[in-house]
């Protein structure tokens, strides 16, 4: 099995439609408004956008899939890595905005036109009429485009020829940028083209008009002219000012023909002007669709998504019957078979395994002992009662299980038996469809047979899952691996620090499991956290206010649950602490972390 098991960018529309499960994000996206889908890598942004394309809508209809379709047609515009490369090449060389912007605009506009032409190709193909009429329609459509944009008469009136022409002028631009980069020409000699000085919405809107006017002139039955939604995927790799420009220009103007659907990472810097954002929101100019779990409601939605996926793929209606309900009681009884004389009672009833563990720990740990005394629980007989059951025992249960399991110098096998069960299957995938597929693939054999998966087998699968997630994150090509302190360093330091806080440090009923950045933290550290948020290493524990979408200072952030079984951290959010305070013991080893100075 390859590392990437599902990436919508490389999958055919047909495959995407087949595996698609309609969710609330999709229903929000198909509303007749501009949208920003915000979420880390793998959260399904590309899938959502591709589901809006005419091809996907057509396939869904053909297959009679019960999926609501939008009233508009999505034009899927993949981000061109060329942007990033050219942007990096020239950003240090050209400082004048008026010379720099047309270059990037050209590349954006070329991408938009190519995407529109691909969609128009599909639209023409899907019209029910004689081939000759389609040929004539294409001929007239391109002829009008040539006229409107004053293009040279040097290619036939076909979609494929216009695409080749666009590639040609982009190539000419790229060559002249490279010539400039290597100092063969001056900035004034860069060869701009017709795409350099116009706005993509003007281009798209004009082509929309030309297409539907041509159709109407051909007297085809198709008289409606739906809006086109320009669906920009991975726009985050393009320059920041460009994204802001697209939003600023297009989100407020009420274009009759167009909608804009953009993807963004959770920490994306999208807005220049807070006043504009507030105003735009009030006027319902756009909706922001956060695709991560940030509160109990979004957690419930994720649970429902997972259940639907399992039902669709394996026809399993009650996943809990197969994966069992997670109980620390059962996990500890299984892992601590050496403890004799414990009863089968559940939780902290006298004689039960958890009661015994708490009693043993309290006997050795003064802090825990004192804590119990403070809570009026007898450390010699720490049974629960109606007063303490929820407020104390339930709260400290994961902590004492982890402390006991990993306590002292006990050697443990790699897979931690505390991770298993239905709830863990859902929550460890942390709102990420790609991760859900990865974990479900590990369970595949059992799910197909609809057989109960034993606790130890589950623990093994979950450990494998966590290792593969860890490897993906630390091997990330953009993970600053060339730096003294890379993304891997941060993940390792944070993971081990959080594990130690729970398991080894002084007992507390409210340990630190999440962190915050402050404005005085080193710039490099902030960059690592921002990039980690982008690729899903970290999760925001709240839905960031639109007004300050970029500002992650003082926001509660945690490691992705996908990594918890790797670092052996209990899956529960306790309190947060400054990241510098969590990591402090490691900083002396990485002096370069501070070289960039304060943020």
């Amino acid at each position: 099995m390859g590392k990437i098991i599902f990436n919508a960018r490389y999958n055919s529309i047909s495959k995407i439609v087949d595996s698609f499960i309609e969710n609330d994000h999709y229903l929000e996206l198909i509303t007749d408004s501009n949208s920003i889908i915000s979420g880390p890598r793998g959260c399904g942004k590309t899938t959502l956008l591709k589901m809006l394309t005419p091809e996907a809508i057509e396939i869904a209809k053909e297959k009679n899939l019960n999926i609501q379709t939008p009233s508009f047609l999505g034009i899927y515009i993949p981000a061109d890595k060329q942007w990033l490369i050219q942007h990096q090449n020239i950003e240090k060389k050209i400082t004048e905005k008026e010379k720099y912007e047309p270059i990037i605009l050209s590349l954006l506009n070329a991408n938009v036109i190519i995407a529109i032409l691909n969609s128009v190709r599909q639209l023409i193909n899907s019209i029910e009429c004689e081939k000759e009429i389609k040929v004539e329609l294409e001929f007239k459509f391109i002829k009008q485009i040539k006229y409107t944009f004053d293009l040279p008469n040097e290619f036939p009136n076909t979609i494929s020829s216009l695409k080749l022409y666009i590639y040609k002028i982009v190539n000419e631009l790229n060559i002249s940028i490279n010539k400039f980069y290597y100092k063969f020409i001056s900035v004034d000699e860069i060869s701009f083209n017709f795409l350099s000085f116009i706005d993509c919405s003007f281009i798209a809107s004009s082509i929309h008009d030309i297409y539907y006017t041509t159709i109407n002139n051909q007297e085809l039955k198709n008289s409606n002219s739906p809006k086109w939604a320009l669906c920009f995927d991975e726009l985050e790799i393009s320059p920041n000012w460009l994204v802001k420009k697209i939003i600023k220009i297009n989100f407020r103007s009420a274009n009759q023909n167009l909608l804009f659907k953009l993807t963004a990472t959770p920490n994306a810097d999208l807005f220049d002007d807070e006043r504009y954002v507030s105003k735009a929101q009030i006027e319902h100019d756009f909706n922001i669709i956060p695709c991560w779990i940030y509160n109990p409601t979004s957690g419930k939605k994720w649970k429902s998504f997972c259940e639907n996926y399992i039902l669709k793929k394996y026809s399993i209606e009650n996943l809990e019957e197969i994966l069992l309900k997670h109980k620390f009681n059962d996990a500890m009884r299984y892992s601590e078979k050496q403890l004799k004389g414990v009863t089968n009672h559940s939780d902290f009833r006298e004689g039960s395994i958890l009661w015994r563990i708490l009693k043993d720990l309290a006997a050795e740990d003064n802090d825990l002992h004192d804590y119990l005394v403070r809570k009026e629980i007898d450390p010699e007989n720490p049974k629960d009662n109606s007063l303490t059951s929820d407020s104390v025992h339930r709260k400290i249960k994961p902590i004492i299980c982890f402390r006991y399991y990993f306590g002292k110098s006990r050697s443990r096998k790699a897979a931690t038996l505390l991770y298993y069960g239905y709830e863990y299957f859902i929550e460890l995938t942390d709102g990420n469809p790609r991760s859900l597929l990865r974990l479900a693939n590990l369970y595949d054999r059992h799910l197909k047979l609809k057989e109960i998966v034993p606790l130890q087998v589950q623990a093994n699968y979950i450990y494998k899952f966590a290792i593969s997630n860890y490897n993906d994150f630390v091997d990330d090509p953009l993970g600053y691996s060339n730096k003294d302190y890379s993304l891997k360093s941060l993940i390792d330091d944070l993971g081990f620090a959080l594990h130690n806080i729970i398991v080894k440090d002084k007992f507390t009923a409210d340990p630190v499991t999440s962190f915050k950045l402050s404005s005085s933290d080193p710039a490099h550290l902030r960059k690592l956290v921002e990039y980690g948020l982008e690729i899903g290493v970290f999760q925001l524990v709240e839905n960031i206010s639109i007004k300050k979408i970029r500002d992650i200072t003082d926001k509660k952030i945690r490691l992705s649950y996908r990594l918890y079984p790797y670092f052996n951290i209990p899956k529960r959010v306790y309190k947060e602490k400054s990241i510098m305070k969590i990591l402090k013991s490691d900083f002396s080893k990485h002096p370069n972390l501070f070289e960039n100075g304060s943020h």
Binding site: K131, K146, Y147, N153, E154, F155, P156, N157, T158, S160
Partner: protein, 391 residues
């Protein structure tokens, strides 16, 4: 000949059992390959395409190499496969022997000669007709004749009885004379098609290399004799690369390989299936050649790439040279922005019978004058456009 004749060509199957040495890099046709998914089985996929496109054929040709490295299971299954296609077309099959169908290296010591397995793996190879079979094994050829056609089925591996002889492909002079005399006694108004495995003229493997030591040594004499007998078409296999050569107005068609990967994979080429339509044009014949390429994911389809590997639609026999045609096209399009291709063919029908080289040259030259076929000529154009007239 008064009627059009359509022939189908399946060459170089190189069928073998999947356990045979290096089989996976040699071929995609295995005797033990499962029939489903149909698209992944070249024969099943071809049957599907034949039915889907309602293809017809008057004759089916197989110019050799049913098996790969004389794999007997491959020989038996390859023969059965080709007969399945023959049954789809319900037409006569002409099959000849390739170098891989002969045990010239004496792999099977239990047999008394190099041709033993080829001769006796079935009673109907290469023909069910006893006389044809006797002639084929005795003299290395037989001639078939029906109301419309004469077909020479020649075994160029006839003398390859050991490894040394297999390296020198030669038609014995007496046999050439006998064929010549046989053909001269036939009705010259019928279409004459000759089929054999090896190539009669040198062919390069790629632009940079020229390693070709298995050409028929006296291929020039063979071709002379065929031209002298008004041969209309020569078909051969062996090279695996589809190619059309004009040899003194005799079309020599080198068939692409149906399922062998040798000489195909290294060129990033495709396995091919061909149909040639012979259209009477006075004393000679014009050809229209259709080619399908195979991919495991799409089955047999005509390529969307006009000039890579071999054009999906091409021809032979135009009497007009390309320079004259350019003039004619330019004149036809002087005042027109666009012209329907069907109407255009009424004015200049020769366009349909251009060879791949002529098609590409014509398109290149016309483009310089802002005239283009849409789509390109090998893709069956919808129209011709002169975009200098736009607006």
């Amino acid at each position: 000949m008064s009627k059009e004749i359509i022939i189908s060509i399946i060459s170089d199957l190189h069928c073998c059992h999947s356990s045979a040495k290096d089989s996976k890099s040699s071929t995609i046709l295995f005797s033990d390959k499962l029939r489903e998914p149909t698209i992944e089985h070249p024969i099943e996929a071809l049957k599907k395409m034949i039915n889907h496109e309602a293809l017809k054929a008057d004759y089916l040709f197989c110019p050799g190499d049913l098996s790969d490295k004389i794999d007997i299971q491959g020989l038996i299954s390859g023969f059965n496969f080709i007969n399945e296609i023959k049954n789809e077309f319900d037409c006569p099959l002409f099959i000849t022997t390739g170098n891989h169908d002969i045990d010239s290296r004496r792999k099977y010591k239990e047999f008394t000669s190099a041709v033993y397995p080829t001769k006796y793996f079935t009673s109907s190879y290469p023909s069910k007709n006893t006389l044809e079979k006797q002639n084929y094994w005795a003299d290395g050829y037989y001639i078939f004749e029906d109301a419309n056609s004469i077909i020479l089925n020649l075994n160029t591996s006839h003398e390859s009885l050991n490894e040394e002889d297999a390296k020198k492909i030669q038609i014995p002079k007496p046999i050439l004379q006998r064929i010549d005399s046989d053909l001269k006694s036939r009705d010259t108004s019928k279409v004459l098609i000759a089929q054999f495995h090896h190539h009669p003229i040198k062919m390069s493997n790629s632009k940079l290399e020229y390693r070709d030591n298995d050409v028929i040594e006296n291929g020039d004499k063979l071709l002379e004799m065929l031209i002298d007998n008004n041969c209309d078409l020569v078909i051969h296999g062996h090279k695996h690369i589809p190619m059309l050569t004009n040899h003194n107005n005799l079309p020599i068609f080198s068939s692409g390989s149906f399922s062998s990967l040798q000489n195909v994979a290294e060129h990033s080429g495709f396995n091919t299936f061909h149909q040639i339509k012979l259209i009477p044009n006075g004393k000679s014949k014009n050809l229209k050649i259709k080619t399908w390429i195979y991919t495991m994911t799409r089955g047999w389809k005509q390529s969307a790439d006009p000039y890579f590997w071999f054009p999906p639609n091409t021809g032979f026999g135009s009497r007009e040279n390309v320079v004259n045609l350019i003039d004619k096209v330019e004149r036809a399009m002087t005042k027109k922005e666009k012209m329907n291709f069907t109407d255009f063919l009424k004015e200049i029908p020769e366009i349909e019978f251009l060879t791949p080289y002529e098609q590409e040259k014509l398109e290149t030259e016309l483009k310089k004058k802002s005239i283009e076929f849409v789509p390109k000529l090998p893709l069956n154009p919808d129209y011709l456009t002169n975009y200098s007239k736009n607006g």
